[in-house]
């Protein structure tokens, strides 16, 4: 349970970090919070030749929120984003999801952008980025590029971040007026990865009828599964939506697999229940401007 040896780089600036990553190529790995990477190293499931530790790059720890959304820097810890009033005001789903990420002590160290690059299909942060249609900014010696969430999550534990690239920030867009969000999940124990989980975003029109509704499902596919259910909900008030039909529509779109924690059928069942719960919570928040599902 000790990490294999690696060459350690502690760049003093972003340029130096990108040079180190470029030189290391496919053998390089970025160390930010380390709450996913170090367990993999301890268990010898990963053995990168070079670790580029960005913990000295405090300029990457910023959180910038405005009416358009929240940009989270690569070194912003889960706990800091969770407690950020401006981030919560611009995009409440971030805090709603972050309270479900592991345990408080892990969140003190883990980073939001690190969770995205780790691209675990059971994790909350990739699901939030996918649901909101956000993006990840990747920097390399060649320059920067923004990758949309839909293209960023490639497979289980696989993102579009290439060797030599550093994910410097992620952008979580705000939602229009009269929108609400919710994140509901079921885990075997508090803080564990979800057996199933659903985040929802609902937008109401001026007459408080549903004008947009989307969900994202975790732990039921190789990447977060986003389903637009606006059509199934129909343009009607949330109280008269056939939620069972909406749940079935989402269940038809997922391909869960069974493992020691849950069968595929149980995951499908849970996802249906959580779709209804999350959408109703999001619709309630959209109507009330409240804090989350009751």
């Amino acid at each position: 349970m000790k990490p294999p040896p690696f060459d350690y780089h502690r760049p003093a600036g972003l340029g130096e970090a990108l040079r180190s990553l470029a030189e290391a190529g496919a053998h390089g790995k970025v160390l930010a919070g380390g709450q996913s990477l170090i367990p993999l190293l301890n268990m010898r499931l990963a053995a990168p030749g070079h670790l580029v530790d960005i913990n000295g790059l405090t300029e990457l720890g910023t959180i910038a929120a405005d009416a358009s959304g929240v940009r989270v820097g690569a070194l912003a810890r889960h706990a800091v984003v969770e407690r950020s009033g401006s981030a919560r005001a611009a995009q409440p789903l971030l805090a709603q999801a972050l309270r479900l990420v592991a345990h408080p002590v892990i969140r003190n160290r883990g980073t939001v952008v690190g969770s995205l690059v780790h691209a675990d299909p059971s994790a909350e942060m990739p699901a939030v980025l996918a649901l909101l249609g956000g993006s990840v900014r990747l920097a390399s010696l060649g320059g920067e590029r923004d990758v949309a969430a839909a293209d960023f999550f490639v497979g289980p534990l696989e993102s579009a971040c290439l060797p030599g690239e550093l994910a410097v920030s992620a952008f979580f867009p705000a939602l229009p007026e009269r929108s609400g969000t919710a994140f509901c999940e079921v885990a075997r124990r508090h803080g564990d990865y979800a057996v199933a989980g659903v985040a929802a975003a609902v937008t109401l029109d001026e007459d408080f009828r549903i004008s947009a509704a989307r969900v994202v499902c975790v732990s039921v596919g190789p990447v977060p599964v986003v389903v637009d259910v606006t059509g199934v909900c129909g343009r009607r008030p949330p109280a008269s939506v056939d939620w069972d039909a909406v749940a079935r529509a989402v269940q038809d779109r997922i391909e869960p697999e069974g493992d020691i924690h849950a069968t595929a059928d149980y995951r499908r069942h849970l996802t249906g229940v959580l779709v209804t719960k999350a959408l109703r919570g999001a619709a309630h928040e959209a109507a009330e401007g409240g804090e989350g599902p009751a």
Partner: protein
């Protein structure tokens, strides 16, 4: 500074542990938990699962609880660490330590250092926690003696002691 090159290169690291400045030379892969125990001889920090699940190795980094088994010593060069050995002040047990003793919050004691560090930071930030907040706060620490009921009682008792002594 470096003794060898490449992956086996040693790094000079300066840590302030429980108020005492330490300089150690360690390979980059040295976990903070191992650095504390082996390099500094501070064996109060216990190592259980070594992948972040059990919480036994929890220490305070600049006042915030973290898993020392999921942190490299080189990464926290220049920072302040508080271990269970640093919780008592001048030989007197801290309110959290006293409450764990009073409420029988320790059985075999293996998980205790992690609980004490986690709870110390928790009660500093939240002096009057609810039952639910206490459960959430200690949810990342495992006790295999399953003494959770008394641990929960101890957290509430520690909050009481803290309030009595500050009021």
């Amino acid at each position: 500074m470096s003794e060898t090159t490449g992956a086996h290169r040693a790094h000079a690291v300066t840590l302030t542990v429980n108020g005492v400045l330490h300089q150690v030379t360690v390979p980059a892969r040295r976990l903070l938990s191992d650095c504390l125990r082996h390099d500094l001889g501070l064996t109060g920090t216990h190592v259980g699962c070594e992948h972040g699940v059990c919480g036994a190795c929890t220490v305070l980094l600049d006042g915030e609880p973290i898993r020392s088994c999921l942190t490299f010593a080189v990464t926290v060069d220049g920072h302040e660490i508080t271990t269970v050995e640093g919780l008592a002040e001048g030989g007197a047990l801290s309110p959290v330590q006293r409450a764990f003793t009073e409420c029988h919050g320790l059985q075999c004691g293996f998980c205790t250092p992690g609980f004490l560090c986690t709870v110390t930071a928790f009660l500093r930030d939240n002096r009057t926690p609810t039952d639910e907040e206490v459960l959430e706060a200690v949810s990342g620490n495992l006790c295999r003696c399953t003494g959770y009921q008394n641990i929960i009682k101890a957290v509430h008792r520690a909050a009481e002691i803290q309030a009595e002594e500050s009021g």
